[in-house]
Amino acid sequence: MNQARTNRRIIRRETHSSRAGLSALTAVLVLAACLWLGTESILSLLGQPAMLASPGMTASLIARVPEAVTPAGMVAGGAAVALAGAVLLLAAVTGGRRGRRAMHSDGSALVVDDEAIAAAISRRVRLAANLAPEQVATAVTRNRALVSVRPTSGITVDPEALTAAATDEVAALRLRKALAPHVRIATKGAVGR
């Protein structure tokens, strides 16, 4: 049993979506369609009247669809079905990254929320520039931390010092994949701070 491999695997599972929600939704819809079709075909085998349409009626309707339905309705329906298919296909193929990332650790598998990282960077930058909490906001994207600072009117802040503070905080985290901080200082200041 290889501990490092197990850790990598559970980190991967924790930081990526399992697609359980979409799978459950799709399964329920497929189930409903199958149950309806099954019921209709058994009713028609027993010679009972259909609930909505017997399988034979459904089949001949599908065969005549281009004549039976207006072109506009056809296009709208087809586009909706194609869109649903594209969404499912994309969900199956794309990574499904959640807003979390792995940190270096000696033994255990360590995962941290992007929100917690953003809050820590904001706090560090705020202390370095001596600002109020609402003057600094941080957004963490896939591989960048975007720090936006709104300085107090009339007081200049040193962008390099703030970048150094943010870089320092990110380096202290020891993330498994690098996160590059970008500090942007607003040209309009906050009044009365």
């Binding site: 697609r19 149950l35 296009v75 087809g78 298919g85 499912l88 969900a91 941290v112």
Partner: protein, 209 residues
Amino acid sequence: MNNTNRALNRILLAITGLALLPAGVLAAGAALVPALAEQWTTVTSGLLERWRHLLATAPAPDPLGSWWALAVPALPLLGAVASVVWLTRQGGGRTGTAALAQDPELGDTAVDVSYLAAAVEEALEGNRAVVGSSLTAWRGRGNRRNKRNTSPKLRLTLQARKGASPREVADLAEGLVSGIDALLGHRSTVLVRIGSGPRTKLARAHRPG
């Protein structure tokens, strides 16, 4: 963390998507291109004709008409069973047992998760960087074949106070994990998640000093 079969989810989603996408494109195309609509009608009526031929090859007593007619309810029922199986494969694997030791002479010993969770809670009492914690356990893959060899894995969630350094919380977590190992008497697989949950938003921000 649970036992969801993620590869299966993605494969089945891809199959459904691959079935719906061309069907939708074809339907929209048939409305826009008259030649395609014509093609649609010829192909579908050809298929219906072949189905009628197929029905005639295996005649059955009257209410049924043909043995092939049985396939019509059988296929959707098969599909229904498959969807139920897919549904039940979501999640699962949660367990209340954090560790299990089996000995033919001494008997089995199980440690409940709540015991460890209470210990973690106790250790975090009065801590400034963490506002909440939770500990759960789940059984990993392959437990059905050899239940003995797979010990449960633990998931420790620590909710950091807003602005607390995640590294500080991580170092704290490493200490908690070695504490858990000491309590259990063996090294366990622990997933630590440093989060910012609802309690983070309610608690006051981290103050320096």
